[in-house]
């Protein structure tokens, strides 16, 4: 086995009519394999995945340094927060509290009061979700600003290529027919029904909108993130006015990040539902086996 077998498997994938025998290859014989993702899409996808993962984890560590969000130009402990996470002693016990507007939630164990290396600790986000796991604003900022550059460089390469090669127009921009099919596509997604045959060879309309949406969201992360920099604010004061003030920008940065996390969760769920092996392989090798009509 080994090298020989994997070469045979590969040729079966690329060329469904190749003469490989055996039960596995027989099943694949009339399976159509297309080249779905170019090298550039695959490379930028994985760099982006790692980067977003690190940006979210380090962002949550940074958030922990001042776990309160406000609206407007200013906001400190004397101002009224929209959201705040804190530990509170009541009746001899400490509870983690998350306050959102007028509502408060007991989030002991996760937000406000959680275990770090076996010890109960007052911290907004728990150790298992932040990068680094221990509370360190300076270190988290180093990671965040290093990978912000990676995010920008990777994003620019992807965007420039997507626009120049027609990937954006061809694969992402929804057609008029796509837009008309939105209600049906929503219904299909809710019933966890995935396109097969010819329809599976192109991104469906919700996919297109989700990918365009997450590109816009990352753009929003970048803009709101830059607006937090006092240097950039001096360079472009209109930016912070547009966003409603620095603390509004910080809140929006957090809201957009939450939406990115939501995208990732739905994205991963869809990968699992659509066939994790085929989907992950297509993002690694580029080759995608088209699901048959009555699979």
């Amino acid at each position: 086995m080994g090298a020989k077998a994997s070469a045979a498997t590969r040729s079966a994938l690329v060329n469904p009519t190749s003469g490989v025998t055996g039960p596995r290859s027989k099943r694949r014989q009339n399976r159509e394999v297309i080249y779905r993702h170019t090298v550039l899409v695959r490379l930028t996808h994985w760099v982006n995945a790692l980067t977003i993962f690190l940006m979210v984890g380090t962002g949550l560590n940074i958030f922990n340094a001042h776990p309160r969000l406000y609206w407007g130009a200013r906001g400190d402990e004397y101002d009224h927060p929209l959201l705040s996470v804190y530990a509170q002693s009541a009746h001899g016990a400490v509870r983690g509290v998350t306050q959102l507007g007028a509502l408060t939630f007991d989030t002991t164990g996760v937000a406000g009061w959680s275990k770090e290396a076996g010890e109960w600790t007052a911290r907004a986000w728990p150790a298992w979700i932040t990068i680094p796991s221990f509370q360190d604003l300076a270190d988290a900022r180093h990671w965040h600003f290093l990978f912000a550059w990676v995010l920008v460089a990777n994003g620019m390469i992807y965007l420039a290529w997507s626009l120049a090669s027609g990937h954006a127009r061809r694969d992402l921009w929804p057609t008029r027919a796509d837009l008309k099919a939105i209600p049906r596509s929503i219904l299909d997604h809710l019933r966890l029904r995935h396109p097969t045959g010819e329809a599976a060879k192109r991104y469906n309309v919700l996919q297109r909108l989700a990918y365009l949406g997450v590109i816009a969201l990352i753009g929003g992360m970048l803009v709101t993130g830059l607006a937090l920099s006092p240097g950039i604010d001096a360079f472009a004061p209109w930016l912070i006015d547009l966003l409603g003030g620095r603390q509004s920008a910080r809140t929006l940065h957090f809201v957009f990040a939450s939406m990115v996390v939501l995208f990732v969760a739905v994205h991963l769920a869809e990968v699992v539902l659509a066939g994790p092996f085929n989907e992950v392989r297509s993002m690694l090798t580029g080759h995608y086996a088209v699901p048959k009509e009555h699979d």
């Binding site: 400190d76 900022r141 699992v272």
Partner: protein, 267 residues
């Protein structure tokens, strides 16, 4: 797919992404990497890109936004040292800092010492600006003081000088709950000459129309509006012009810089 396996798949993906995110610091070895020399070197490169990009964008001397009186924080959060304590400072505070002097020395043609009264007689600038703490909060205050550039011009900056270092009267204990090097130390800060000569960079002696109070840095503090709060040294006693930060504190340019924070605080 049967409904059960669909539900399992969905649930699996959602918890999977949670678990993936959770423990991520361990999966990627991020905790170990964080303290390493290699990581510090790479992150220093990113810091220098940020610095050079912002220096380029701000090369026309762009000003930080100024606000109106109605925007002032009702209570301006006092952070870091809120009272330096000690006999010398307590005595100085007791006679309203009448004998406090600001010394300007190092790489200057004419080292000088100025009393608080002398500083108050010099041309001043008043500005209402937003103070952005590295932790994430912002407060708005009105500051009055002498433009640092005016003082430096009077002292005559020697060719080759690169930094203005601010020596302060307070010791700080660091952030024992936040990791890093946390030995107590004397507060100090440094900025480049581009920021030192910026018109909004002032040695402030008044806040919100009153003499600066102890919690906010009495009698003198730095305001350097295009940088984060930790750069705005309080209780300033001496401004030293130098061509190197080596040999001052731990050599990284400031109290917080010596404890892991970036020297360039425009982000």
């Amino acid at each position: 797919m049967s409904p059960v396996s669909r539900r399992t798949a969905l649930f699996g993906a959602l918890t999977g992404s949670g678990v993936l995110l959770g423990g991520c610091a361990r999966i990627f070895g991020a905790d170990q990497l964080t303290g390493s020399e290699a990581f510090r070197r790479v992150s220093d490169v990113a810091q220098s890109w940020t610095l050079h990009t912002q220096r380029f964008l701000l090369s026309d001397g762009a000003m930080a936004k100024e606000y109106r009186l109605s925007d002032l924080s009702p209570v301006f959060k006092a952070n870091g040292t809120i009272n330096p304590g000690g006999d010398d400072y307590a005595r100085a505070a007791a006679d309203a800092f009448a004998n406090w002097t600001l010394r300007i020395d190092g790489m200057v043609a004419r080292p000088m010492s100025l009393s608080l009264a002398e500083l108050r007689r010099l041309p001043s600038r008043t500005q209402i600006t937003r103070h952005d703490c590295v932790e994430g909060w912002s407060a708005i205050g009105q500051w009055t003081g002498v433009p640092l550039g005016l003082l430096l011009k009077a002292a005559g900056v020697a060719p080759g000088a690169k930094y203005a270092v601010f020596h302060c009267a307070d010791d700080l204990d660091g952030e024992p709950d936040k990791g890093g090097q946390q030995a107590p130390g004397r507060y100090y800060e440094s900025i480049g000459l581009v920021d030192a000569f910026h018109p909004q960079t002032i040695i402030a002696y008044a806040m919100n129309g009153r003499p600066l109070d102890i919690a906010h840095g009495a009698p003198l503090r730095l305001r350097v509006e295009r940088l984060l709060g930790y750069k705005h040294a309080k209780y300033v006693q001496r401004v030293q012009l130098t061509d190197t930060l080596a040999g001052i504190g731990a050599g990284r340019g400031g109290y917080w810089e010596d404890r892991g924070y970036d020297w360039y605080a425009g982000i």
